[in-house]
Amino acid sequence: MTPMNSALAHINPSLKLSTHLVIMILLMMTSDPRTTCLLWLLAVSTGIVFGGWRLHYLVKRLLPYLLFFVLTFWMLAAFGKGETLLWQWGWFHITQEGIQHGLTIAMRMYAFVTYSLLFTSTTDVSEFIMSLIHQCHLSPKWAYGLLAGLRFVPLFQSELQQMKAAHKIRGFQRKNWREAFIRYTLPLLTQGIRRAERVAIAMEARGFTGSKTRTYYATPQIKKKDYSYSAILLLFTLIIQLLSWQLHWLTWSWQ
């Protein structure tokens, strides 16, 4: 089972996103590495049980961020404020409090990454945007504009490759970054703008007005199982928070 046809992939994208955003806001309010770590584990286990994550997938997608995790930890540990000095060298200034804060923030960022992976790995982009129209009342004009625009990402890539090849065959050598900007970024942007105009005209020519009364091929709805996913995830979050409060781990960010 892959993430894209797992149980999580059939959850309404808007509700899934807002549930994850609520948990992320909760993570921002929590300032304790142990609680944060438990909330991160919740994301990982949700991914394994409902999201179709396999071990090699987890390693491939989450391990690279470990470096980022270490760097964030290091930044706060070495440059953060604190009284209990442990080690000092050059401009690095490591304190007990710094390490504590570093662990919290690094863990929090790791949790952020995991919760967003839980969303992006199990959500189809066009389903997500359709759900934004129906559940979040995004105007169809913006929704279809966004869909058309996202199609440009791979196009930009192949265009850049083409441009590089064209320059190479003509023996162009890059001198400095200004030159590179004029040679690559400018044509890419101009092409993009021209294409934007063509896409817009094409859409309008086919009768697209962007009005909210249009009809849809498929109308995503929020069903019982969507609500139950959201409720169960939030319930677990609440249990974790209560548990760590019971164990006197929990401290809030503003304390």
Binding site: R108, K141, L146, F152
Partner: protein
């Protein structure tokens, strides 16, 4: 406020380009910040606010700055950013900051000064987010103020000023003829820019 379809698609496309640039830029900045501390990479900050002034300068409509920054953040999320959904939050904070700058001028002036202020307020917005979520409050006050100062400077130059240069260069290619930026050059307040443009296009 009625957006035409071509303006919608243009905003999305420019946001996508900016989102891709943001992604590359963050991969560059992380190693630098680890070595030299948070201060070391803050001069690079301005690029992350460029979407707002760039799009607002071209489209010149209320809401353009906020929408552009949020759309760029959404692209970052959908293409797999290091920061995931948190870049979405950053986008909202920065976008509101940048949007404020144009609102201050009642969406009547789109010259260098509002653009630079937009970059500066975007810097404020993202620093507020970093204090809330990324533990910037744990740095000493002196360090935090240094970070903010560097961001403001960088936001003004790499955000606002660079956005103007970029858009003006794009104007010269003639690709922006149909948008508010060129129309105001011919009929509106940007007479000085118009002269510059007409002389350069004659070249």
């Amino acid at each position: 406020m009625n957006w035409r379809m071509r303006e919608v698609v243009l905003t999305v496309i420019l946001s996508i380009v900016c989102g891709i640039i943001y992604l590359g830029w963050s991969t560059l900045s992380i190693p630098i910040s680890a070595l030299f501390g948070p201060v070391g990479s803050e001069w690079m900050f301005g690029i992350w606010v460029i979407a707002s002034p760039l799009v607002a300068y071209i489209i010149r409509k209320p809401g353009a700055a906020l929408i552009a920054e949020v759309a760029a953040a959404a692209v970052e999320v959908l293409t797999g950013s290091q920061f995931g959904l948190s870049s979405f939050f950053v986008g909202i904070f920065q976008g509101i900051g940048s949007e404020l700058a144009f609102a201050l001028f009642r969406y009547k002036r789109f010259t260098l000064i509002p653009l630079v202020i937009s970059g500066i307020l975007g810097a404020f917005g993202s620093t507020i987010y970093d204090v809330i979520a990324n533990g910037f409050g744990y740095y000493s006050v002196k360090l935090l103020l240094t970070i903010l100062g560097l961001r403001v400077l960088s936001g003004a130059i790499l955000g606002g000023y660079l956005a103007k240069i970029l858009a003006d260069t794009l104007c010269k290619t003639g690709a922006l003829q149909a948008y508010a930026i060129m129309k105001e050059r011919y009929y509106g307040q940007d007479q000085r820019d118009a002269k510059k443009h007409s002389s350069s296009s004659r070249l």
